[in-house]
């Protein structure tokens, strides 16, 4: 067992370097599991390690490649099996697959620092309409100390409308609608005679917030302010998910969670590939609806859509997607920073498709700073159509 355990430890190290969070406990589990299952067919060995070392679906891909590379040498596996059992089936040759860059770096130690990218994104990258889209990265000026202080103060002032929802948990309250039987009983045991009724009421909690932020060319003037805002927001409250979109959709929640704002923005900048290009609102909303809506819009999430509504696809396919998003979200707020005039007329097709489906429309005339942005969001809404009964 000693040699096998050693190899599993080594394999775990490879996985860890490839970005899978494999802890010592899992390594012990893996050794225990292999002992329990014994080494038989290669597939069983694969799934035994898989059961203990993989904890999320998106880790499967990395594990799969690492397994085939690491345990490729059939002699190695043979030797190990010889240690375990006297007679064994010969393992089928491992399919040689293309290795992901992260894995190659983990195995062979690339000097370059590895990206904190998720495998899901790599799938995104393979979609190619690069002929039409403008792929570029972005450099953000570092945030000054004064700006940092301003950001902190500003985010504390943020008040979204309807930003608290009743949840189905309760807390003691003198005038609550429910009777707290447990507390009542305790009190009556102490007092005797008349039963003093104790009450409870529902707790309130800020619902999850999902931000879909446009980073296309027409919005480029605001992207620094927006990212500062999104960083402050992500670190200020729990259950925030941030997606950036231009011609493609990128989930940058994990990058933005980094405490240091400049570091977080640098990671976002490296992660997103469609800065300042065109916008395909309909298509990116469709991707969101299919890939993410079910996972992040549960529990009554509020959606904050930040876009000027200028769509390269001229609003094509946008109507049904925004309608679907609206049905899924508890509340849909649209922040539109393009408007430079007091009198707003929805002329663009994209804007006309979006307008009927938002609960709250917040036009902003000038976003020079984070403070201005937060004020715009915290004011009484400019127009608040009644939410149609679903």
């Amino acid at each position: 067992m000693g040699r096998l355990a050693e190899n599993i430890v080594h394999f775990a190290r490879v996985l860890r370097r490839a970005g899978l969070p494999v802890g010592p406990r899992q390594v012990l589990d893996a050794v225990e599991a292999v002992e329990a299952a014994g080494i038989g067919a290669r597939a069983d060995f694969y799934w035994t390690l898989h059961a203990t070392l993989v904890k999320r679906r998106d880790q499967h891909h990395i594990f799969d490649q690492a397994f085939h590379v690491f345990w490729r040498d059939p002699k190695l596996l043979d030797r190990m099996m010889a240690l375990m059992l006297p007679e064994l089936k010969t393992p089928p040759g491992a399919p040689r697959e293309e290795q992901s860059r992260r894995l190659a770096e983990a195995l062979f130690g690339d000097a370059k620092p590895r990206e904190a990218a998720e495998p899901e994104l790599e799938i995104d990258r393979s979609e190619t309409f690069s002929a039409e889209e403008l792929l570029q990265t972005k450099d953000f000026e570092q945030m000054s100390v004064a700006e940092l202080a301003e950001a902190k103060a500003a985010i504390a002032r943020l008040r979204l409308t309807h930003d608290e929802a009743r949840i189905r948990r309760t807390r003691p309250a003198a005038r609550g609608p429910m009777i707290d039987m447990r507390a009542t009983l305790r009190a009556s045991l102490r007092a005797g005679g008349v039963i003093p009724l104790k009450r409870r009421t529902f707790r309130r909690r800020r619902p999850p917030l999902v931000v879909l932020c446009d980073i296309s060319g027409s919005m480029s003037a605001y992207s620094r302010v927006f990212l500062h805002f999104l960083h402050a927001l992500t670190n200020d409250r729990d259950r925030v998910h941030v997606f950036l979109f231009g011609t493609r959709l990128t989930n940058v929640t994990r990058e933005l969670r980094h405490r240091d704002v400049d570091e977080a923005l640098a990671r976002v900048a490296a992660r997103v590939e469609d800065w300042d290009g065109g916008t395909r609102i309909g298509e990116t909303l469709r991707r969101f609806n299919i890939d993410w809506a079910r996972r992040v819009l549960g529990q009554g999430a509020t959606v904050l859509l930040v876009t000027d509504g200028l769509d390269r696809d001229a609003g094509e396919g946008l109507g049904p997607e925004i309608a679907r998003l609206h049905r899924r979200a508890r509340r849909l707020i649209w922040l539109n920073p393009l408007l430079r005039y007091e009198r707003f007329e929805p002329k663009s097709l994209g804007i006309r498709a979006l307008l009927p489906h938002v609960d709250e429309f917040r036009p902003v005339h000038n976003i020079a700073s984070l403070t201005a942005l937060i004020e715009a969001l915290s004011q009484a809404p400019a127009r608040m159509p009644e939410r149609k009964a679903a």
Binding site: Q26, D29, A37, W47, R56, I167, R169, L189, R295, G298
Partner: protein, 303 residues
Amino acid sequence: MNLPSTIDETVELLARGAYVADRSLATVIFLALKMGRPLLLEGEAGVGKTEIAKVLAEALGRRLIRLQCYEGLDTAAAVYEWNYQAQMIEIRLAEAEGVEDRTELGKDVFSERFLIRRPILQALEPTVEGPPVLLIDELDRTDEPFEAYLLEVLSDFQVTVPEIGTIKAAEPPIVIVTSNRTREIHDALKRRCLFHWVDYPDAERELAILKLKAPKTPEKLSRDIVAFVQALRSLDLYKSPGIAETIDWAEALTALDAVALDKELVNDTLGALLKYQDDIARVAGSEAARLLEEIRVAARAAD
């Protein structure tokens, strides 16, 4: 019924319960049983996650205790509650008899006699047939505080009732946790579990499942159904049909005395398979005709 001692035995065990499991699922179930660890199953709705717990309980001859999760699920509904009405009556009776010692009375009403056991506490109790199967269904529907509470239960298999003390299972139950992934389960909980993503079955396995679950469906129709559903899953639909939907559809078509798929039949019964209007609108008509044609060509090539 003893626990299986090899992966092959696990496959057989599941087969006896009319569950067609692939090797990867059988491996992880075997390990969960052998190592006494909770098993976290994630996957799309309708791929048979809940069914696994039912089949395991049935095949092992164990009791199935099911805890359906929902928003706001608390210890009173999941673990234990006091029988307040009975306690009140007890207090009143004691007072009528003139019992003066309130501390003693307190001890008396907070005894096991007045404890209502909810699923988790039930699962920790010893039973004749062996530890039960505890199914914690759709964990993603509850909130983080309950998940945090589960941590204690799932790592030590014990529950603390302040008035009584700690109740610990003599033998840990077999725990199956399922999630539809409407939110991410916390890492701390995942670390305590063995994890498996239950995927849609491949055509061969789906056909085997269909034969078991909808045995009245004609052979040719079954093959058409599976081919069509498999083709649907490759489209970018909002909700791909699960195995449950495949079985429903097969039953619907069999009830209509169909022997093979055709365009009209598909359009009329698509509601059994797809549950979103957008998806139905997209598939009904020309897309369905295209898929049917593809299946026909593939079937002819195979013959």
